[in-house]
């Protein structure tokens, strides 16, 4: 009895310690960069040889690829979810869901390989560029990667709206378009927002695929909306440089600082998502 309680409390404590240990390790190891650079971390120059560690180009890159990905994936994903939930014969819903799950399970390194072999070549040819490894290519690839997540969560959100709303709306002789726009979407809004936030977190944290196709140049493009130039995201920077920098150096510490920023953003997004999904449950009751 005592051993059993020790086991259960022990494993809960181990789980909690793992989470805290990750945060503490990141904070401790990024402190050197903060001490050495202070607010100079938020500048545009990254040059370890000159002790310049400005993280803004990477933050810009992460933001840019994520925005491109969401702008492409959210409209297409939402429309496709409306089709699978409201128009498609319900008999087909289960197979469609299984296929989406399989798509979501393709490892990101394979997306990266497809990105290198096809997308970067297409973008390069289409816009007549020297290299097709651009911010746009990374955004396109990310859009495809988060599409299954968005479709399946939006489909759940719409499907969870009780049938009586549809029946009442149809009884008022509303068209399908009006039912979806004026009845279903407002009710499912919280869940759909949650889905987008979750996809946003995924897109920000994605490493391998982005790293292979973005071109890895640490500057904000000129002008800044030129998505056809190479860039760098926080994750691609980490993937490329962590192994090359010496442990304990300011360079290493600056990389950890970026990682800490990323974790802070994605963890708050995931927590926010939980808040959204919970709120919806109360609404349906």
């Amino acid at each position: 009895m005592r051993i059993s309680r020790l086991y259960i409390a022990g494993s809960a404590i181990v789980s909690a310690i793992i989470v805290l240990l990750i945060f503490v390790t990141l904070i401790v190891n990024s402190s050197a960069a903060v001490a050495a650079n202070g607010f100079h971390l938020f500048t545009y120059e990254w040059n370890p040889a000159k002790d310049q560690f400005g993280v803004l180009p990477m933050i810009f890159g992460s933001g840019a690829v994520t925005i491109i990905a969401l702008c492409l994936a959210v409209p297409i994903g939402l429309m496709a979810a409306i089709f699978t939930s409201e128009i498609l014969n319900p008999m087909w819903r289960a197979p469609v869901k299984s296929v989406l799950e399989i798509l979501a399970g393709i490892p990101s390194i394979i997306y990266g390989l497809i990105g290198i072999a096809f997308f970067s070549v297409w973008v390069g040819d289409l816009f007549d560029l020297q290299s097709g490894r651009t911010i746009l290519t990374a955004g396109l690839l990310l859009a495809i990667m988060i599409l299954p997540t968005i479709i399946t969560l939006c489909d759940d959100a719409l499907h969870n709206v009780p049938q009586k709303y549809r029946e009442t709306a149809a009884g008022l002789a509303l068209y399908k378009y009006e039912i979806v726009k004026d009845v279903l979407l407002p009710i499912a809004k919280a869940d759909i927002n949650g889905a987008v936030l979750l996809a946003l977190g995924r897109a920000l944290g994605e490493t391998m695929a982005v790293m292979l196709v973005i071109g890895s140049i640490d500057r904000v493009p000129e002008p800044f909306y030129n998505a056809l130039s190479a860039g760098q995201t926080i994750t691609s920077k980490l993937g490329r440089e962590v192994a090359e920098s010496a442990f304990g150096s300011v360079h290493f510490s600056a990389l950890i600082f970026m990682s800490l920023l990323l974790v802070a953003i994605t963890v708050s997004l995931t927590s926010l998502t939980q808040f959204y999904f919970k709120q919806e449950q109360r609404l349906v009751e």
Binding site: L78, I109, A117, T235
Partner: protein, 283 residues
């Protein structure tokens, strides 16, 4: 036709178009992986050692290495995950502690995969001085698998009707006996489903293990837990970076098809296990 009817027709057309685009992407992705993968697929490729930096030879040891990593990770994570799920479901009484535990688990789920790799590099490789090894890779993968397994196990333990517990207590069983004789057998499928879902994700992960567990070439089966391994995802990464080399790219496609098949084995088993779970809960 009225304006309303036109809007409706346009709307239905757009949603069909969006679905069509998604279907096209699906066919393209699967088609590309299978078509290119089949071209380099043969028994020789599956059963021989990589040579010439992966550009020729096969991927036998990459497959073995990937499996070793996730099997060890499963062994490490299962006891902790089941204990944590039981703690969350059966022992927590204060709402504040419950919320804290949820926040911690969701935080762990929200941490990007590359961060796990960096954490492993700092904490295990540098501070504890373990070196780049199979064991460290498995520990980090186990950490990534933890939230998924805890959540699915928790759900299946928590959904057992309280009449089961009450009956067991009425028969004179103590809490631990209730857990071992009643709750765990009833929720076993939940834990297995969670493990399979987590495995399907873990085996394809590259970023967490590339700094801490894998070496690129010249390694067969690790001699001990503290030797580096080779793995499929990092092999694909290395080959993809020499994309101008036709032979390397060819082998990357072959490795991708094998990796995807492994992922599918796990995710289809998870699907089946979940269906069985549903059947049991409907009885």
């Amino acid at each position: 036709m009225s304006n309303r009817s036109i809007a409706n027709t346009a709307f239905v057309f757009l949603s069909r178009l969006a679905t069509g685009i998604c279907g096209f992407i699906l066919v393209f992705l699967i088609g590309v992986i299978v078509w290119n993968g089949m071209n380099s697929m043969n028994i020789q490729f599956l059963l021989s050692e990589a040579s010439n930096f992966g550009a020729s030879g096969g991927i036998l040891y990459q497959i073995v290495g990937s499996l070793l990593l996730v099997v060890m990770a499963s062994v490490l994570v299962m006891p902790v995950a089941i204990g944590t799920a039981l703690f969350k479901s059966e022992y927590i009484t204060s709402p504040a502690l419950f919320r804290l535990s949820s926040i911690l688990i969701y935080s762990l789920n929200g941490i990007p995969s590359v961060t796990f790799g960096i954490f492993g590099l700092i904490f295990f490789v540098n501070i504890l001085g373990t070196g780049i090894s199979w064991f460290v890779g498995s520990i980090i993968l186990a950490m990534m698998m933890l939230p998924t397994i805890v959540l699915t196990t928790y759900q299946s333990v928590n959904s057992i009707p309280s009449s089961y517990r009450e009956n067991a207590y009425a028969l004179g069983l103590n809490k631990w006996q209730v857990i071992v004789k009643v709750l765990l057998p009833q929720s076993f499928h939940g834990a297995v489903t969670g493990l399979l879902i987590a495995l399907a994700r873990a085996i394809g992960e590259t970023a967490p293990i590339m700094f801490i567990a894998t070496a690129f070439s010249g390694i067969t089966v690790p001699g001990s837990l503290f030797d580096p391994v080779v793995s499929l995802p990092t092999h694909i990464l290395a080959l993809a970076q020499q994309a101008t080399n036709e032979a390397a790219l060819q082998n990357a496609w072959g490795s991708s098809l094998v990796l995807l098949s492994l992922v599918l084995v796990f995710s289809v088993s998870a699907l089946l296990s979940r269906l069985r779970l549903k059947e049991i809960s409907q009885r």
